[in-house]
């Protein structure tokens, strides 16, 4: 057989492609249930961690059933609608949110028909929004957990922020990322980064939504800026990830403002 001939080359390449595709598909399909289970357990563990409940891979689901008593979704106006928070995918929601944000920003430059068109588009995007909420009951109180998602430097970042029953003070939070720089932006998933968030407030004393601001340390730190209630330290060398996290919190949590205010009677 002429191993250098055209037909041989062509047939060889075709067979190789088919064999490789078959092996990879077979592996992917058969391993998929295991992989999905891993992702699910990880999600459960993150939600539990945001309220300070430690879990292992084995007991995560039991603890979830035990402590998480509420799992529902809201619409953009803060009213409860059909659906489960756990099954709601956040990535498309974040896309809607960023689209609306861009349109809102462009409203200033538009007028007349264009403006009306943009406004109705914003309303339309808003009507498609789904806001997931979890409720947790522990011995030391009841808390609400909000999933958040945004953009880091290299990819998505996400997390869970738990609030006390005043819908204002942060009880705990966990953050995660897909591929931020190790040792720098990737440290948003470390305790030393998320611990300072505990006790910070989302609303100012006058009831305005402030969210959390990340400050460069040292002279520009939160304490120096007089913002101890709403400020935490960013990560040195992880500026873009820190800014992305700040934006993520502001953009995601601001959409819950109607709900928080109605629940807390602010």
């Amino acid at each position: 057989m002429n191993t250098q001939g055209n037909i041989y080359t062509f047939v060889y390449a075709s067979i190789m492609v088919i064999v490789v595709a078959a092996i990879l598909s077979f592996t992917a399909i058969n391993l998929q249930p295991l992989q999905e289970k891993n992702v699910r357990i990880e999600k459960i563990q993150s939600i539990l961690a945001s309220v300070g409940i430690e879990s292992t891979v084995e007991n995560a689901e039991d603890l979830f059933g035990q402590y998480i008593v509420g799992d529902f979704v809201l619409n953009a106006d803060g009213e409860k609608i059909e659906g489960s928070a756990f099954d709601t995918k956040l990535a498309p929601q974040v896309k809607l949110m960023l689209q609306a944000k861009k349109l809102l920003a462009s409203l200033r430059k538009l007028s007349g028909d264009e403006k009306a068109g943009a406004e109705s588009k914003i309303k339309e995007l808003s009507s498609e929004r789904i806001l997931p909420v979890y409720e947790c009951k522990k011995d030391d109180g009841e808390f609400v957990i909000i999933p958040v998602r945004g953009k880091g430097l290299w990819g998505p970042i996400w997390g869970y922020v738990s609030l006390e029953k005043d819908y204002n003070t942060i009880y705990g939070c966990v953050f995660a990322h897909k591929g931020e720089t190790p040792g720098l932006g990737a440290d948003i998933d470390k305790a030393w980064f998320s611990d300072p968030f505990v006790g910070k407030k989302l609303f100012s004393n006058d009831g305005d939504f402030q969210s959390i601001t990340l400050y460069k340390g040292g002279k520009g730190s939160a304490a120096n800026a007089g913002d101890s209630n709403h400020g935490v330290d960013a990560i040195s060398g992880g500026t873009i990830t820190s800014k992305g996290l700040e934006d993520m919190l502001r953009d995601c949590l601001s959409t819950y403002e109607p709900y928080f205010k109605s629940q807390a009677g602010l």
Binding site: Q4, T9, Q35, P182, G183
Partner: protein
């Protein structure tokens, strides 16, 4: 045909020093910079490269007489990429925590020149068993340098060592910091990794006679 002749032993031990893929062949430098910020990813990546390199070497060696020369590189690439994808899928299913740490770096294995380099230089012209040994030897040489560089960078850059299943272990005692010692943040940046590798090459060349070139 002995299973482990002295020639085979050389295949395993040469890449550890005299023919080290990173310091002598100067291959795989990219990952030596990227994954050595912390120790654990370096360890796990070394093991992953070992699996891919050994298997790829064996597969290409078995196929070596059938591959059409015109698509030689493409076939090698397909084999490497498929193996890396398989490794990634298996990690995601059975070692989820590890796969999360390697998330960015698993793809880097495909671009690692060492693998393509060994396939071209050895597997295409040798039998499966020697190819397997060559793969293991080169992966071991690669892993050794990676772990050494990561050890230095993390120790001096963060004062800790991150080990698999042990997590981050603080090595430099707090007393040092109180005294005024500060972590060398510079060493966490990629250029310093290159300098560390350069210093390793320098030390290795001075101490290993065979590598000193006649001027």
């Amino acid at each position: 045909m002995s299973l482990f002749s002295s020639k085979d032993l050389k295949l395993l031990t040469n890449p550890l020093n005299v023919d080290n893929p990173i310091t002598v062949q100067v291959l795989g430098i990219c990952s030596a910079l990227a994954v050595t910020v912390k120790l654990e990813p370096a360890i796990v990546l070394s093991i992953a490269v070992l699996a891919v390199l050994a298997l790829a070497n064996v597969i290409i060696s078995l196929l070596r007489n059938t591959i059409p020369s015109r698509i030689r590189i493409i076939v090698q690439l397909v084999v490497i990429a498929s193996l890396v994808i398989l490794v990634d899928q298996v990690l995601k299913a059975f070692l989820y925590d590890v796969s999360k740490q390697l998330s960015v770096f698993v793809g880097l294995i495909i671009t690692n020149c060492i693998i393509m380099g060994r396939l071209e230089a050895f597997a295409l012209g040798n039998k499966p068993w020697p190819s397997f040994l060559d793969g293991v030897g080169n992966a071991a040489g690669y892993g050794m340098i990676l772990i050494l560089v990561a050890f230095i960078r993390e120790l001096f850059g963060s004062g800790t060592l991150t080990l698999p299943s042990l997590g981050e272990v603080k090595i430099i005692p707090q007393a040092f910091y109180d005294f005024g010692y500060a972590n060398n943040g510079f060493i966490i940046l990629p250029p310093m990794a290159l300098i560390v590798v350069g210093i390793i090459i320098w030390v290795q060349r001075s101490r290993t006679r065979e590598l000193i070139e006649e001027n």
